[in-house]
Symmetry: D2
Subunit: 346 residues, 4 copies
């Protein structure tokens, strides 16, 4: 299969799968093991504990789910809501569009707030909707934290503030696939999840199904790398690299797809290709001549000829193909439910 590639190493710079650190590749280079032995529960315990630090929570309950981001979307929706429930969803790019499509297929009653692609979520419209919803018909707000298709990041804290302002109990469900970030919401709903909690409880020692031993060891290695560097240092590094990328884009005389600084993403930079160039031709040449994988604009921004640049992601490899949900119960001071899911790719 390798002969689909030219000689030498392939250079991966797409807004999709990230480059895997050699340390992580090595950790997954192994035979199978018995997941019912004493070793795997002990390993799992460290993972479930340590992953909380990535989400900066001490009380949240993380779930590791053997699926992709798309599967985690579904799992989050079906385990916290009921068919027919009304939800508000922001449409700001290709991935929020796909999620909304899934929400409709799962028979939720979706109220869409759309922005021009390249802009962030329109929070003013959300505020007016919540102000009007005094009977609390809206059960959840669905928002993509970092829209990969446009390199736009939404302000989750502002969403939380709006909900608090109107004392609205709706959940916030956040797609953190290309950001790993946290979403906050006040809700008793989280307390009514016997199945989920049951699973979480079992997870503390044993898996209720066959986990991927390899991804568990890979996740362990990823966490070790992050802790060794320091989570804040990792975030600062991505911030620095992302700024450097945006400055380079400007220096080349090109334009960022994200229209305002408040929406700049630190994990994906989408660049507008000049009108006289064909972005698919650029991607094709990069592949053939330089063994270099670049991302193309999708859907609406494909018409605007967008070429993607991608910084090394905060979302390290091992999380990919393993869905991740994290939920937090009631807390007097700051009632929140962390519902972050995703990872590394939809």
């Amino acid at each position: 299969m390798d002969n689909f590639y030219g000689p030498g190493r392939n250079h991966l710079f797409v807004p999709g799968p990230v480059n895997i650190p050699e340390h992580v590749i090595r950790a997954m280079n192994r035979n199978n093991e018995d997941y019912r032995s004493p070793a795997i529960p002990a390993l799992t315990k460290t993972l479930l504990e340590d992953i909380k630090q990535i989400f900066k929570t001490t009380t949240g309950t993380p779930f590791l789910i053997p699926t992709t981001g798309t599967g985690a979307w579904e799992s989050a929706l079906t385990n916290t809501l009921s068919p027919g429930d009304q939800i508000v969803s922001f449409l700001i790019g290709q991935f929020s569009l796909l999620w909304i499509d899934q929400q409709r297929r799962l028979n939720f009653n979706v109220d869409v707030i759309e922005s021009e692609w390249g802009q962030g979520a329109n929070l003013e419209v959300l505020a007016s909707k919540l102000a009007a919803d005094t009977v609390h018909t809206v059960k959840a707000i669905c928002i993509v934290h970092n829209e990969t298709a446009t390199g736009v990041t939404n302000n989750l804290a502002a969403v939380r503030k709006i909900l608090d302002h109107y004392r609205h109990p709706a959940l916030i469900l956040v797609d953190g696939v290309s950001s790993i970030y946290v979403a906050l919401t006040g809700s008793q709903k989280a307390l009514s999840l016997p199945t989920g909690i049951g699973i979480a409880y079992k997870l503390e020692t044993y898996w209720p199904y066959t986990p991927s031993i390899h991804l568990l060891y890979g996740l362990r290695a990823s966490l070790d790398l992050i802790f060794e560097e320091g989570l804040d240092n990792v975030i600062a590094r991505h911030s620095r690299l992302a700024k450097a990328t945006r400055l380079a884009v400007e220096a080349w005389g090109l334009k960022n797809c994200a229209q305002k600084e408040e929406w700049y993403s630190n994990s994906v930079t989408a660049v507008l290709v000049p009108p006289n160039l064909d972005s698919s031709e650029i991607v094709s040449r990069a592949w053939k001549r330089y063994n270099l994988s670049l991302g193309l604009g999708l859907n609406k921004v494909a018409g605007k000829k967008i070429l993607f640049m991608f910084e090394e992601s905060l979302i390290l490899f091992a999380l990919q193909n393993m869905g991740l949900l994290i939920g937090d119960g009631m807390d007097v001071e700051n009632p929140i439910l962390f519902t972050v899911f995703g990872c590394g790719g939809n």
Copy 2:
């Protein structure tokens, strides 16, 4: 984490994850790649074509799903049936029990035919039920091909014959997780799966979500190994090894859990532990003294003190953690739907 194990290699002989051939481990030892590049669709195409040979079908449509066997169970049920549909399910061991639990949670109307653990599916009861169901209320027959918990294999061809005899249109859904075998059923239902077919169609070139590059390359390596040895030779080898295992069990003065030769499994041999021994103590000592992982009896047969022996499985590693469904459309001579799912572990 490695220090949970004693020194030296761990010896894996459980009725769960199988030992991964070094060839397959090597194939998965790599960085990420762009799944939208020309290389991955080309690789995927060879996989979807070659995997049909494993299922000995030329017209079936295989689906590769990023999930475990448990997820594939759900996917098969929700994509071929509707909530409330009546289904007949055989209960012959722990895994059929778990599947029936899932069927009930998904709101199907489940009619259970139970056998003593250690025996196969009671097909006479099925025949009388189908004979009585002249209005075709039963939409599907759910059967575990190889019950891992007891080392019992069911006769799928006999199930097919009963349906044909009564010209009954119910689907046969088969859990082939520990056997990879084929299930046959006549049904127009398969033709009414626009989403599924749409996905299958797209799969011929591109993935609609982020696949695990590593599992794809691992699957490629697995298929190469099987084709190199010859599928029939692989099956013959497992048959030979399984027979040798059963003869060894007898020579040791022990008894097989599977009660009749017609139910003997060629991929799992479950052994009854003598009444004076504690099977969990055997497993514990094997772990501590010999770095050897053995399987314990589950649920009902735990009471009967069953110790598992496990031959190297026909189901090679790469299929694990990647659900697999294969469906065949209408065929005048032999109307069948292959609905095999599973792989390597639930």
Copy 3:
């Protein structure tokens, strides 16, 4: 190339290359690195320090040489002796025979003390020779610590005692390839090795030639495994496994090649094949039927039809293909030069 093997894993039980722990395989799974960067000297420093613990010395100077045991033989001879020097060499099996052949090709004046194969070194003859050598013509005693071909271990401490008794300054050069043990000798010679010491000095920070980055990381992983288990525990484990192997040989009604308990090796057990069996046929069948590699008797003991059993060796993989010399300078109480070389195979 893999198709030279039958399906499934190959089982390695030869008196040659040992099975590599997965931890070590993983450590060597990497790209090249710049050996002149700050990282490799730092890694090398830990290796040179930690390897002393394996040799239980605090003052010895270890040398890592990119070669096999055969190359380390040559390096030890040519760096401590001069052409024409008289040396005493024990011939007790195939590997001592090969070393003597090399000693003669390198123009040393070799006085051979031969034993029947299956017996240890004849130390009485050595004692009488040293008693007679009052003018100290003999410059070195060459002895294979563990003769792989016969599973015989020599008593190095007894050799040291004889030299001390006659106050003889000859060096003891020990082939520890299949044992990793220490050799002792009193000699000022070791102090007159400017080149060697120069190299050793440089080695503390930088390599004078291109080292194998992979073997260095592998060695690091090997040492970590040994230290984690505890060196004495590792030795005790091999002692226990070797005893179990010898008891099993007896229980099978077969005979050990090593003729007396004092010569029993804890890393290689050589078994006499009954006269009515053809040992090469046994090895050939094991290979074809069971994908199992066994060792054959070599040279003289081939006539006696010897089949080898091999316990997992104390000599972990990473040392293989990397010669190892360790030299200790003058010490008032116990004047010794550790000159151990070899490892993992000649």
Copy 4:
């Protein structure tokens, strides 16, 4: 150990170890094997046959030696010459300097022809020396084909022509470590190497010592990659990349160390650092800020502040740490001895 590096991948651009293709890393990711089994001799046979194609010879006899380039230097000298023999050696940079040092330590009578560093071998002086040597005292010409320290390549064909012109029987010994090229010489000497030929003969089926199984499989993978791309295509690619590198150096306003186009190397480009910059500071910053390994000027050219740029080498990884000698016997038309040794690093 990994924490000696910054986060992310290390970028290797040194005139030393080359980046290893993932295909080759994968091939070496394995347990040990019995080198006396039928598999390894079969593998070795394909290697010895296929490696001739890399050297473009059909009659040469390749030797694989478990050592570094430094060891292969010694092996070539001591197996083709006798102590005291007179040899002519070109001194044009750090590696030819080190080889000459070794030649002197091995007691050869070395006549050095020195060039300014940055220039190639002075062939006019060689011609006059050979013209004067009518009694054929000179037994060998030692020349580094590609001087890594200065990025200078020597014209070996011109050396061959001079020897032919004077009908001089001296051997040409070529260090091809950073080029893999062929050296030619007319000599009956090659025919008088019973040991060498004996080894070569044995090598066709069995190894006389323990080879590195891993490097053999790595070499197999390297050769497969080269043959897949086509050797001439590999050479053309390096020529193209090297030219692009030199053009880039000019475009940056910097100067090449190699002083004339006839000496330009296609595997190493050495760049003169402007007088106002400190090259060691450049290397240090590249390491700390960018996780990027660059090479420094050595010895004489260190004074001239040289910074190295290194193209992906023709010498793929698996050859490294495995010396390689290739010798060709008498041939009526073109009496030659290929004596190439080295690879991937001294």
